[in-house]
């Protein structure tokens, strides 16, 4: 069993109704699988922020331990103590 902390920002936190959550997960679970689990746990609008036409929303920004991930990295297995930060589409300033 591993523990992973997820921080949600901006509209994601509003739609999920939560800013930070720790997940106890089976070893080997991937980031994509965790996103799928979150989509089922949080209210419906959250799903629309995560998926776009059944694929990961290209505007979603995911950082794993402060490293910006691209889509190909989302199949990587998570490790105990990992920290994820999720942002919807925002830019500027």
């Amino acid at each position: 069993m591993i523990t992973v902390t997820v921080k949600l920002f901006n509209l994601l936190a509003i739609y999920a109704g939560i800013k930070t959550q720790s997940f106890d997960l089976a070893e080997g679970i991937t980031i994509k699988q965790l996103l799928e689990r979150m989509v089922h746990e949080y209210p419906a609008p959250f799903k629309d922020m995560i998926y776009h036409h059944e694929k990961i929303n290209p505007h979603l920004r995911i950082f794993l331990n402060e490293h910006l991930l691209n889509e190909s990295e989302l199949d990587a297995a998570l490790s105990d103590g990992d920290k994820l930060m999720l942002f919807p589409a925002i830019a500027g300033g």
Partner: protein, 662 residues
């Protein structure tokens, strides 16, 4: 000569503050054909009328207020107004831009441009009510903060719809980073143009316009505008920006490592949540507000209802301010930060320069560079928000040794002080660096050094590579530049991105619409859409190709203006921290800004000489700026430019190898 185009007020005012003469002229056709409006016309007037020897705070400097053809139009986010003058902060080309309602009101009174020249011997304000224009005494307004001065003017004129552009005590006291506050509570903050007004004893402009604006093809413009409004509302970025404005960026910048902290030592702020957009909205939001005709509404009104800073009420709390008066000075107290923002807006200070200057002072204190008797009892420990608030006040009123010294900005203070203080002044060409660490986003580092007004993110405004949005990049540039174009740490293609942003940005700032909604962050309006809107508004034959040429012309003329002040490629540098000290933060860990790789590409893309970084004769000829080339050569070859450069007054950015000290 009759002015032939629609979509403009159609005339301009020349106000001589020495003689009190006010003259009204038709707008010049060649101005709008070659420079469009706003930023472009202001640049042209500055080039033609403010010589290189003019002192920024002397009678020969001119303050130009200018709107553009889309200002006050149905196009989304069309409330912007430009202020242009020689900058008292940098000594070179300066401009500042604001939203709100002042620009459309001025245009509705029939004026696109006001040129203020000379100096009054007593405080005055310009009163405009359509055709009635007069200089009136501002004796009873002088010394007031901008909030009270605006309310007083509305009371004097018995008109709550009066729109104003005002300076506070900071401008009156010639603080070199004094801004101009525009109705309603928007700031034309950068470059110290409030001090230009102060030097002219010009408290402000009060305007009521009831004429409206006639457009060339109103139905076509209306249809295009409706389509743009619709597209903006459907844009993926719309909801998040509407909800949080730019404050929503605070959290995002942490893992990127792009959030300047402790005077740029770090790119992330421990405990950033305390000053994040999320907490700001949860704990302090009063209501959402918006500038003229803006569907986005990124502006908000906030208040503090309890505690030490109860009663504070402030709008436009931007990402930049949350950084400059927050992380950059290690201030985690959000109510104190809001109070600091309120003080800056009321007294008329640029929050970016104010915060950067205080961060400079705090770093000097950290290294024991101040003598105890210079601090007037202030504790300049990082994060001491009582000292921050006191310093803002002291700078605005130039009180005490420290307040007076820092009122000239970090780069000048470093020069006066000596003691190796230049190592801690984070500036480019005298301008304080805003909240983008070029180590974390290479394009922003390049943008800071190529900006015509000194360090600045908004000239080029590269946003597609902040965290990398390929879909947005493809919409503008196709897929040929991927993946490097959207990789924040890659240097390839960033010269192209920055040049295109600068040219398009010059056009947007000359048109009167906004960079935050639709033109940059939400890429719905680009060259073609902007050209179509200008054509429909004005009746001008306008293509995207023409518009690109105008953008390039404006930006090149700004570079020429800086060149006659001795600016060359030698000034296109970042302080050591960005190029010598690897970032310790987030996604940028280990990265430095590679100007050495990007600048040659940039000069090549611009058609500028790779040696001195100045526009070549061929480039200026292509843009119809032959005369500018001749004059630039004359001033450079006579040795005048070098002399002027040596007198700009700020310490050179420190670029030698340094190691961060704990």
């Amino acid at each position: 000569m009759t002015f032939v185009y629609k979509g403009y007020g159609g005339s301009y005012l020349r106000v001589n503050l020495t003689t009190r003469q006010i003259n009204k002229f038709p707008l010049a056709n060649e101005w709008v054909e070659n420079f469009l409006g706003g930023n472009g016309i202001g640049t042209k007037i500055l080039w033609d009328e403010v010589p290189e020897i003019a002192s920024p705070l002397g009678p020969d400097n001119k303050l130009i207020i200018a709107t553009g053809p889309l200002c006050g139009s149905p196009m989304p986010n069309s409330g912007r107004v430009e202020f242009i003058a020689k900058s008292p902060l940098t000594g070179i080309y300066g401009d500042a831009n604001a939203g709100g309602q002042f620009g459309p009101e001025l245009k509705s009174a029939g004026y696109d441009v006001i040129i203020f020249e000379g100096q009054s011997d007593e405080p005055v304000y310009l009163d405009i009510h359509d055709d009635d224009v007069a200089l009136r005494s501002a004796e009873e307004l002088w010394g007031l903060g901008t909030f009270e001065a605006e309310a007083r003017l509305q009371a004097i004129h018995k008109d709550s719809r009066l729109k104003t552009a005002l300076i506070g005590p900071a401008g009156e006291n010639l603080v070199r980073f004094a801004g101009i506050q525009v109705s309603y509570r928007r700031s034309a903050a950068r470059c110290g143009l409030g001090a230009v007004m102060g030097s002219k004893k010009l408290k402000g402009v009060a305007v009521r316009g009831t004429k409206g604006i006639a457009f060339s093809c109103p139905q076509e413009l209306e249809e295009l505008s409706l389509e743009m409004h619709k597209k903006l509302r459907q844009n993926e970025f719309f909801a998040g920006i509407h909800q949080f404005g730019t404050s929503g960026l605070v959290a995002l910048m942490q893992p990127i490592g792009r959030f300047p902290t402790q005077n740029f030592r770090l790119g992330h702020f421990e405990g950033f949540e305390a000053i994040s957009g999320e907490v700001l909205r949860e704990e302090h939001l009063v209501k959402d507000i918006a500038c003229f005709n803006c569907p986005l509404g990124c502006d908000k009104m906030y208040s503090v209802i309890s505690g030490e800073f109860a009663g504070c009420r402030i709008s436009s709390v931007e990402y930049e301010t949350l950084n400059a008066l927050g992380a950059r000075v290690c201030n985690r107290n959000l109510p104190a930060l809001l109070k600091a923002n309120e003080i800056c807006d009321d007294l008329g200070l640029d929050t970016i320069s104010a915060g950067n200057t205080i961060a400079f002072a705090m770093e000097l204190a950290d290294f024991g560079i101040w003598n105890a008797n210079e601090l007037n009892g202030l504790d300049l420990s990082w994060g001491n928000y009582h000292s921050i608030l006191q310093l803002l006040h002291d700078m605005a009123y130039r009180q005490g040794f420290l307040g007076d010294l820092l009122a000239d900005g970090a780069a000048r203070a470093a020069k006066w002080l000596g003691r190796n203080a230049d190592r801690y002044a984070m500036h480019v060409k005298g301008q304080d660096i805003p909240a983008q660490d070029g180590r974390a986003q290479q394009s922003m580092g390049l943008a800071h050094v190529t900006s015509s007004r000194g360090a600045d993110h908004l000239k080029a405004f590269p946003t597609i590579d902040e965290t990398g949005y390929p879909s947005e990049a493809v919409r503008r540039y196709g897929d040929q530049y991927l993946p490097e174009l959207v990789d924040p740490l890659a240097t390839k293609y960033k010269a192209m991105l920055v040049k295109d942003g600068e040219d398009f940005g010059a056009v947007v700032d000359s048109s009167g619409n906004c960079k935050s909604g639709g033109t940059f962050v939400m890429a719905e309006i680009y060259w073609q859409e902007q050209a179509d809107a200008i054509a429909a508004a004005t009746g001008m034959l306008m293509t995207s190709r023409n518009l690109r040429c105008i953008g390039e012309r404006i930006y090149n003329l700004q570079r020429c203006y800086n060149a006659i002040h001795g600016i060359t490629s030698a000034d296109d540098v970042l302080p050591w921290r960005f190029t010598q000290a690897p970032s310790p933060s987030g996604n940028a860990r280990g990265s430095v800004c590679r100007l050495d790789l990007m600048l040659p590409d940039y000069y090549a893309a611009r058609g500028w000489n790779p040696e001195d970084g100045l526009p070549t004769q061929a480039t200026l000829q292509r843009l119809g700026l032959d005369q500018a080339w001749k004059y630039m050569q004359q001033i450079i070859n006579s040795g005048k430019a070098k002399i002027i450069r040596s007198q700009l007054g700020w310490a050179e950015p420190y670029t030698k190898k340094m190691v961060e000290q704990e």
